[in-house]
Every structure is written in C-alpha cells, then in structure tokens.
Symmetry: C2
Subunit: 559 residues, 2 copies
C-alpha cells in the first residue's frame, strides 16, 4: 500500500467541474457546426499538405434531453513533452467520458510519450488505477517523452499497434509541436483509410499554445501560481532583511508569458521580457544599464534590496548574444573533435574560441564572465548547440551589474551596497497538484476529447472556452488543428506548424506591466500571493491568472 | 491603498487559536509556579553570571473566574535575526494581550532588529497597523537585524531609550543567540534596578532552539512544509520525466533538522545529515561513494533519476573539509592583503593557496572542482572566514559524483546515464504565510509573553507546550532562560549560551530516516505534500511536522 500525504488523500476525492453542456454525459450531446475554417496563414500550402483534414468547421456541443447509445470504442492516450499540472485529469476526464458512453469501452495509455505508440508499450486503465491519480500533478501515470511522431515509418508502427489493440482513436496531450504532429498523424490516418481518429489537447506551462480559439494551455495556471508563491515569499524576505537583491530566473525558453504572469502576480522591482528585448534590439549592456540604474536609484532612497524577474530564454533574444551563440555553435562543431582544444585549460579554450569567432562575436564572448564562457562551451545538446537552459543568465547579469556598479561607485554615481542571491524556478512548478482551475479545465478537456471522438471527428484540438466564467458556463467544442497552422522554417525546410504565441507587446498583459513598471521599480508594491489553495473561499481557491483575465476582458470588450 | 492578494485578504481575517488557559484574557490568570530550576550544565558558572535571574521556577498559567485590573504598561518588541514565518503573529498576540489587559497600554516596535532599541528607532503600534499584518509572513512589520545586544554600552543605550518611552518590558523574538542576549539583558536590568523586564520568544526555522521545555521553535513548521512542497513537486517531475537526478540543498547551517524534516515529508532517494557525517567521520570521498553507489544501483534497475536532499552546512561537518577550511581561513588573512595574490589568475591563486596550506589540507583543496576552489577564495565574511552558505555544495557533489561514475563506467561498474539539476531552497520558506499551526503557536507565544510580563517575570522564555494536541489543550507558561544554558567557547572565550539542539542520532526522528533509507533509495516512495493549505479538512490544514509528532510521541511514551 502506497503511503499518501494528507493533501493527496483529500485531492483524490475532489470532483472536477464540467461545462453544463457535458454534465449529462456524452450520449446526450448534439454537435453544433460552425463555419468552415482556414489556416491562419499560408492557406494554399497547408490545404495541400492536409488535403483530407483541412477546412473543417469549428464545433461546439449542446446537451440534449434524448440519449443515444454508443458503439464500443477503444482509445489510446499519449502524454507528450514537458510536464504540466493537470495531465492526469485530462486522462481521468477522457476515461470517465469513455466509460460513460459505453462501459465496454477501453482506454489504453501509451508509456513514456509518443515512443509508446510506436513501440507498442502501453497499459490498460482501470477504475482503481485512474482513481489513484485524480487531481494529482505530474505525468507519472504513464510517463512522458520527447520523441517526435512525424515520420511515415513511425506512423506505420503506430497504426500496427492501434490495429492490435483495436484502437479507433488516439488522444495526444501536448504543446504546439506535439499538436502539429497530431495533425500530421490525423491526416495520414485519413489518407490511408485507417478509420483511426486523432484528437489533441493543449498542454504547456509556457502558455505559448494559445490563439483565437485556445484561451490558454493547461498547466500555465498552476505553474505560474507556484512560481508567484515563491517570488512573493522572497519579496517578503527581501523587504524584511533589506540586504539582498534577488535575481529570479523563471522557466520559459521561447515565450516570456510565465515570467510576465508571475511578475503581474507579485509586482517585483524589475521584470525583463524577452520579446521586448528582441523588439527593441536591446544589447546586453543596455540591459545592464537599465537594471543598474534602478538599483542605484533605489540605493539613493536607502533601499539596497529588490527583486528582478528574468525569463529563462532571455540570452537568445539579446541580438549580439544570439549572433555570437549561433557563430559559436558553428565553430564548436569542429573544435569538439579537436583533441588539442578538448585537452586545453579553460583560459586556453577561451582564447582559441575568441580567435575563431567573427570579430564582433569574439568581442561579445570575451566580455563575458569566465563562468558564463565556460557554460557556453560545456554541455552541448545532441545537435551540437549551446544548451541555453544551462546558461546561468541570472549570474551573468549579477556579475555584469556588479562590475557596472563598481564603475559607477568610482564615478560617484552609486553609493549603495549590492549583495545578491540568485534563483531558478522551473521544475518546482511543472508537477504541482493542479489548481482547481487546472483540475477542472483539464478534466473538461479530456471529457470533451472523448465527445469529439464519439462524433467521429479527427484532426481537432479539444477546446474549452469562456474560461473566466464559472465552469458550468464554459463552452466545450473542437477546433481543427490546421486552423492554427502556418508554414515556418525548421532545420532549413519549410514545415506546417502551429504558430507559437509570443508575448504581444501591444497586448493588455504586457501593457499592465509597462504601465506599472516605474512605480514597482522604485516603490515596494510587492504582492504576496502565497501557496495555491485548493479549499476555502472561492476568491482564493478559484481564481485564474492575470493573463487570462486581461486577455478575456479585452476579447469580450471587442465583441 | 495597498493592493493585496486574495490570500492576504482572507488571511487577515483568520482568528488564531489560543490555549484555553489564555482564552479569558490576561486579567483572569493565575500563575502556577513549578520547582526551582538549574542550568543544563555548568551550574556554578551560570549562576555566578546570572546572580539575579538564576534558579527561578518554571511557571504555567491557569484561567481564573475572577478578574483583576492591570496597571498601565508600555512594552517594546524586537525581531532579531533571520526571518521565520509567524513573527508578525507573535507581535499581534502580544498586542492583543496588552490591550486586553489595559487599553491604555502601549506597544512599541523597535525598527531593524536589536539596533532599534540601541539607537531609539521605533514605531508605536495601532490597531490599524497590527491588523494589516495578522497571519502574514515576513518580518517587515518592523524589520529585523543581526546586531548582537551584548555590551554594557548597548545595554545602557537601551535603558535610556526605554526610559524615554516609559517602557517597563522588552520582548525579544529570536533564536538561541538572541535569547542568550535576552538573558544577559534581563540580568543587567535587574542588577541595575531598572525595573525593566525581558521576555524571549523561541524563533528559528532551523529548529535548533528546542529542549525539554521548548518543543519546537516557531517558523520550522511553515518553512519545512514549503521546502517539502517544492521537493515533492520535483520528485513528481523526476518520476515523470525519468531523466534527471535532482540535488536539493536545504537551508540550515549548523543543524540538519530542516533537511531531515523535509526528507521525512517527501521520502527522497538520498538524504544526507550533517550530524551523521560528523559522528561517523565520513570523508568527502566516502559520501561520494555512498551516493554513487545508490545512483549506480538505481541505474541497474533502469532508473536514471532520483532526488538527493543535502543540508546547507554539510561541508563544514566533513572532517577533512572542516580542517582545510579552517587552515584556509588562517592563510587567507595575509593573502587577501597581498596584491600579487589579489591580482593573480584563478589558476595561479589555486597553486599559491596549495603551497601555503598544510599538506593534507592542500591535497583536499587540490582535489576540488575549480568552481568550488573559486568559491572558497571569494566572498569572505567580515571576520575573514569562508562564507559556507555561498559554497555550492550541491554542485560540488554533482561534479565529484560525475567523475566517480565515469571511473565506474570505465571499470564496467556503471552503465547508466547521470544528468543532474541542482536547487537551493532557503529564502523561499522563511517568509511564507504562516501555516495554521505557526499562526496559532506564534499568536499564543506573543499573548503568553504579555501574561509573563503582567506577572512581573523577567529572564523567561515564553513557552507553549503540548503542541500535538488541539490548541485549546496547549499549556502556556514560561521557562527561565538560564535553565537552557551552558558554557561554550566563542571566539576563544568561554561564554554562557543556550545550548543548540542538533539532530540526535539516537532520537526517533533520525531513526525514522535510518529505518527507511534503503527502501527509499531503491524504490520510489515519493510523498507529495503539496502547497500549505490554510483552509479545508483539518487533516490537511492543521497538521504539524513529522519531527514534532515523533518527538512528542516519544516524550509522552516516556512519561
């Protein structure tokens, strides 16, 4: 018997809320078709690539008073990519809907991500098994993986496995890339007359899988609340001890939604947003100047402390760093097999690298602290690229700001103290117990995914909208995956992909930061959101993110 | 108007629970004296140093049906040392008791720690001010500081400030050192016939201020639950992704109570305890062997992931590291003013240091990774000592284990993968919203502190016991500070100090770890405690720590 924590025991009992349209079960549903759709861009190419699944209408569900019966259906489900709180509830919702439709239905879970369907590794879910994972965090129910499901060979293996298990639908829970692959698989299954459907579910803590049809991906709510809890606690510590500047790096390599949301929940003194750095072509030294200026001005007010929030992917968005890293990736390809380089001391390596880089890039590299120079050379990924997530950007900034402040001190422009602490939060939030919002949203996404399957749809993303309203008013339905696609260059080739949503500098969320930035920099407007609450007053336990609230308000206002 | 988070708004309304003896207010109390006390050791010396305050009896309170009146009293309060969740509630409890006794009473808060009373920096508390801090984390209500209140001159300044404000009692909220100083101040005030009383309150997240009379210091409950939340989330992540070993360093320099408690709440694969390392005289290489062996055995079972919990202070408890650091402190004193050393490259510095260290110590130093060698030389504290908290012990272990596993791989004894992530948790937990336990305990400690003052006591620590029972059954009273003292060497001189409680290797808490260690190492017994809950089922919202439960069970069993 596995020992469970008190919270685990209580959360297993939580009954997630469903949209009212789904509350009578999947056999009492009517499908309402919207109008035919188009991809966001590159319509001709996308249509050509998805000849069988392109242009389908969006759909929503309405509850009916009559009840139909469903044929027996076996479904397989895959967790793809990085963990996000609520994945277990997607599967629980899917399972409940499937058993509600026909108790003879079976749900199979493919193990370890997309490789599970390719290699035929799976389990069959039972009530007992599902019940022990309800409302819990993590993807450990069946594991996840990063295999990309995209080749003809993989599709064929998948088909064989599905045939063996008599599976007629596959649900892929993943981010933008995994759902792009879900669309490819759906198309391939139709083209080859397999009769197997594919439905996607929008997962990612990064919050970058969203668009007109998807208000937010699941996991963003819980992860950002967890990071906000920690940042708030550190703010309170900084404001009590009044002796440290805390530099907090937050997970999110491409988009800065997570850092932005965490900042809006906690109101730190400094928040950097990668998209802004890129748009304004801010150099590393201009970022250092910006931060040093705030530190110096706070010091003038007697405040030698503060909080800076930094998105994980920042470094790649700084133009000269991006250029240097790309140049470095090229030259390292040959240097890594050069034994005289491999066996050189760090100092020797630095000068070899500097001699090989283009002159502007060499200057940038040589200006960096030794720790960062080392990290840029170490731990390369399988493609020979710098692993940006391993670069301690927070320490890079601290070292460079420290040097800048010393200069300013010598010039009589800084008379404070600068002591720092650095933090990186990512793994802490990806597997938290899903918030009530994520628990409900994920359960609804999974339940709804089976409703889409039951109506014979394929190449659709499970969609639950109107998310700032109470769950009963949520709108359940589906969106053709091709609708969210455009053509982008990947590894030198143009590919159909779901557009990644970056932080919009003209959007209401970034504006909230921008309007308050100077006030938050100088005054201490710290907000302490505290630990996620699963019980208690609805004002605490059922809130969503600031991002969702602001974006929905704007959407609703524009209707 | 300050913007508040939803949780802040709700927590301000929470009414902390009091022991039933205190529920009728401080004017309806009877003092029950226990027998006279002795210091834990060195009785003669302690008695000599505390001629006026030594040997007093322990006391408890009983509620009476009659109500007396209280003279007007002004009280001052100080927050001393590192933050611990619940400090604000100690002050709120003290304030409520003081106003309950006589609404003309005043409570002053000294600003920025003990320096506030020395320099006469203070505020007077009002209802409105107190109300905005109830049940919140942090020490920002009046700030804290690390000034040691111990010299005759400081005592005189403090007296002057108290006289000016007509203060007749001072409450010092602090750890073992601060309470040692509270005892010195209490004695000095009596010896000099000032009529000013001093009462201490047991604060520290480290959990090392505890003994026969003090079941636990406040803040330990909330801080360890916060760290356990994060470790549990990371465990779930590791167990989902199955690709990283996470090395988690946990705050706590001297004692490992925090790491031990966090481990018991989460059941990680590896837990190091500094006290055990010291007692068993474990060398760094034997620690590396122990950890590498578990990593290799898990890899044999196909598990290339896991969690290791490491106490912050570990490095000083490893005999050869302690010896090397102490030697290094000596030689650095002269090297730091030597410009040829200061301007040398890192590699040059390393060889200079190695040439000056005693031979065994030089070997140890030279065996360390460059990053750690650098950290040992940088950032020295005002006394010229290595700042152990800045040494990234988690990375030291990772680097050395990585090297060890490579060796084992070459010898055919390891065939797995070792990818790692490191974390350090400390600041994340010191200022969290106090758990219900800490909110109640702290409020009771503060309320009780005023009851002690009202009965004219001085040199006592506010004591609330029987803490695993419901709050109404808690036993409120006081313990003479001298009772917890012994003589110890500090900066070369014998000083009276409150004994620090280290993890007892023969105690029930460590035994719990020891009995399960091998099972937790190989099997995945991860426990996910989740975020602290302030609302909901009592089984979740009102639990205490495993440490307190086990120690109380043993105490109760031995009665």
């Amino acid at each position: 018997m596995t020992k469970l924590s008190p919270l685990q025991i209580e959360r297993l009992k939580y009954q997630p809320k469903l949209p009212s349209s789904l509350q009578n079960g999947v056999n009492s549903l009517e499908l309402v078709e919207g109008s035919a759709t188009q991809s966001v861009r590159d319509q001709e190419q996308i249509q050509e690539l998805f000849a069988n699944t392109y242009g389908k209408p969006t759909v929503t569900f309405k509850s009916t008073s009559t009840s139909s019966t469903s044929d027996v259906k076996n479904v397989g489900v895959i967790l793809s990519g990085g963990q996000a709180p609520g994945g277990h509830n997607v599967i629980a919702g899917l399972y409940d809907a499937l058993k509600n439709a026909n108790s003879a239905n079976k749900l199979y879970g493919f193990l370890g991500g997309p490789s599970g369907i390719i290699e035929g590794k799976y389990i069959e879910f039972t009530d007992e098994y599902i019940d022990s994972y309800r409302n819990t965090g993590g993807f450990d129910i069946i594991g996840s993986g990063r295999t990309k499901l995209e080749t003809e060979e993989q599709f064929k293996s998948s088909l064989e496995v599905c045939r063996k298990l008599n599976i007629s639908a596959v649900v892929i829970i993943g981010g933008d890339d995994s759902n792009t692959n879900a669309a490819l698989l759906a198309e391939w299954f139709v083209k080859n007359n397999t009769g197997i459907q594919v439905i996607g579910c929008p997962k990612t803590i990064d919050g970058d899988l969203k668009n007109e049809q998807i208000e937010i991906s699941f996991g963003f709510d819980t992860a950002t609340k967890t990071y906000a809890e920690l940042i708030g606690n550190i703010e309170r510590d900084a404001n009590s001890a009044k002796k440290y500047w805390h530099f907090v790096k937050i997970m999110g390599r491409s988009a800065s939604h997570v850092a932005l949301e965490a900042a809006l929940q906690t109101q730190p003194n400094i928040t950097l947003i990668s998209e802004e750095v890129e748009a304004k072509k801010m150099s590393l030294s201009s970022i250092i100047d910006y931060m040093s200026d705030i530190i110096a001005r706070r010091a003038e007010n007697g405040k030698n402390f503060g909080i800076a929030v930094i998105p994980e992917g920042l470094i790649e968005f700084i133009p000269e760093m991006g250029s240097m890293i790309s140049n470095l990736n090229d030259i390292m390809a040959s240097l890594e097999s050069d034994s005289s380089f491999v066996n050189a001391t760090s100092a020797e390596k630095f000068s070899i690298v500097e001699s090989k880089l283009e002159s502007e890039n060499a200057k940038v590299y040589s200006s960096l602290p030794a720790l960062i120079k080392e990290q840029l050379l170490a731990d390369r990924d399988p493609h020979g690229n710098v692993q940006v997530s391993k670069i301690e950007t927070e320490k890079l900034l601290i070292e460079m700001i420290s040097a800048k402040l010393s200069e300013m001190k010598n010039a009589g422009k800084f008379s404070g103290k600068f002591s720092s602490q650095s933090h990186f939060f990512g793994y802490e939030g990806r597997c938290a117990f899903p918030s009530n919002f994520d628990a409900d949203y994920c359960y609804s996404l999974g339940y709804n995914a089976f409703a889409l399957i039951n109506f014979g749809l394929t190449g659709y993303l499970s969609s639950v909208r109107n998310l700032t309203a109470p769950a009963s008013d949520w709108i359940a339905g589906g969106v053709p995956l091709t609708m969210m696609m455009n053509m982008e260059k990947r590894h030198g080739e143009m590919k159909p992909v779901i557009q990644k949503a970056l932080v919009r500098l003209d959007g209401p969320v970034f504006k909230q930061l921008q309007d308050n930035r100077e006030d938050w920099a100088m005054n201490d407007r710290y907000l302490f959101s505290g630990a996620i609450q699963y019980f208690g007053p609805s004002s605490v336990a059922d809130i969503t993110t600031v991002t969702l609230q602001l974006e929905r308000s704007k959407q609703l206002a524009s209707v």
